[in-house]
């Protein structure tokens, strides 16, 4: 049973009894917005500005977990594609060993974290990568043999870099953070994670 069904049941019952007029969805959204502002306090590096949504976050939140329509998806992907900055030196891959450390590191940007770092990508929280690490999550697809399966072509490397930089450019309302766009990882860190995926010597491709 989905939650939506239970709720519509409850709402229906309420209407039957006739004791309340259900507030509109807009009013509930406004209520939620006001509540957010009143319920959080700035702490450490996390200021209250983090509660403000950009266009992508707002559109994806409004979907309430549903897949975006083609129109919304196109809008989100187009906007985000425009944000991607490729390295000026033209090198897309760095050092996979650093990439592995970044993939393991879960800290960064929490109010409890030191603003001076470290900041990681926490890739293993959601993805399988090197087979030696058994504690991987499954929110995202397995990336084991990412390069080996797709080939080590520069287009694939470019896609990997761009996807890490801004995932919303390729899959609207993806659960994956926009590591470059939102300044979570540096250009060098994104290069290193790209190497973890694309270097033939990386444990990911063994």
């Amino acid at each position: 049973m989905t939650i939506r069904r239970i709720f519509s049941g409850a709402l229906f019952a309420t209407i039957l009894v006739g004791c309340a007029t259900a507030p509109s969805d807009e009013r509930i959204s406004a209520e939620a917005g006001a509540m957010l502002k009143a319920s959080f306090k700035a702490r450490g590096q996390a200021g209250l500005d983090r509660l403000d949504q950009d266009d992508t976050q707002r559109l994806c939140s409004e979907l309430a977990g549903r897949t975006p329509s083609k129109e919304v998806a196109d809008r989100i992907e187009k906007q985000n594609l425009a944000t991607i900055k490729y390295p000026v030196d033209g090198k897309l891959s760095g050092d996979w060993k650093n990439g592995e450390r970044i993939a393991q590191e879960g800290r960064g940007k929490q109010y409890s974290d030191d603003p001076k770092g470290p900041v990681g990508g926490n890739c293993y929280a959601c993805h399988q990568l090197a087979p030696q690490e058994v504690a991987y999550g499954t929110i995202g697809p397995s990336l084991y043999r990412f390069g080996k399966l797709r080939g080590y072509a520069v287009e694939i490397e470019r896609y990997a870099y761009a996807k890490i930089f801004n995932s919303e450019a390729f899959a609207a309302c993806s659960m994956m953070p926009r590591f470059g766009h939102n300044g979570i990882l540096s250009e060098q860190q994104i290069k290193d994670v790209t190497a973890l995926l694309m270097d033939p010597a990386s444990p990911v491709n063994q």
Partner: protein
């Protein structure tokens, strides 16, 4: 079984064992002096030192020591359940050692006559490591090992 363990500790682990055990203060059940804490043993940093401090020689690997409720993978190293049963006759004590902890010895349980040679507790592990169950029975030392992997948590702690 006699409550005076010293009388039982004759043959077995070598001539010096009796003296070592007495000096190290290996637990003697039913004896008030047993409640002195064996600092030397808990300060040791490797198995050789621990064995020396506990007064034992090289322990014999034994299939009669069984781990129960001890997972292959611990979701958190702060609490790792360890259960140890000794099926070796005349088991006098059971010790829990963690190979890669800064101090190896975690706990020693003295098993008086009438108490089942089986204990269950929980220990901390700094990293994936072997857990050793060291059993003293009839004055001799026996050991079994179990490899326990400690995993990392999720969202960055």
């Amino acid at each position: 079984m006699s409550r005076k363990r010293r009388d039982v500790l004759k043959s077995g682990g070598g001539v010096t064992l009796l003296a070592l055990v007495a000096a190290a203060g290996w637990l003697r059940p039913g004896d008030a002096a047993a409640q002195a804490w064996n600092k030397a043993a808990f300060d040791t940093r490797n198995i050789g030192e621990t064995m020396k401090a506990l007064g034992g020689g090289d322990p014999v690997q034994s299939k009669d020591i069984v781990f129960f409720q001890t997972p292959d993978i611990a979701e958190n190293g702060a609490v790792v359940p360890v259960g140890i049963t000794s099926n070796i006759p005349k088991t006098e004590s059971i010790a829990v050692l963690i190979e890669k902890n800064p101090n190896m010895l975690a706990a020693v349980f003295d098993i008086p006559a009438g108490t089942e040679p089986s204990i269950s507790t929980r220990v901390k592990m700094g990293q994936s490591s072997n857990i050793y169950a060291l059993v003293k029975a009839d004055g001799k030392y026996f050991v079994a090992a179990k490899d326990v992997k400690v995993t990392l948590g999720g969202c960055g702690g």
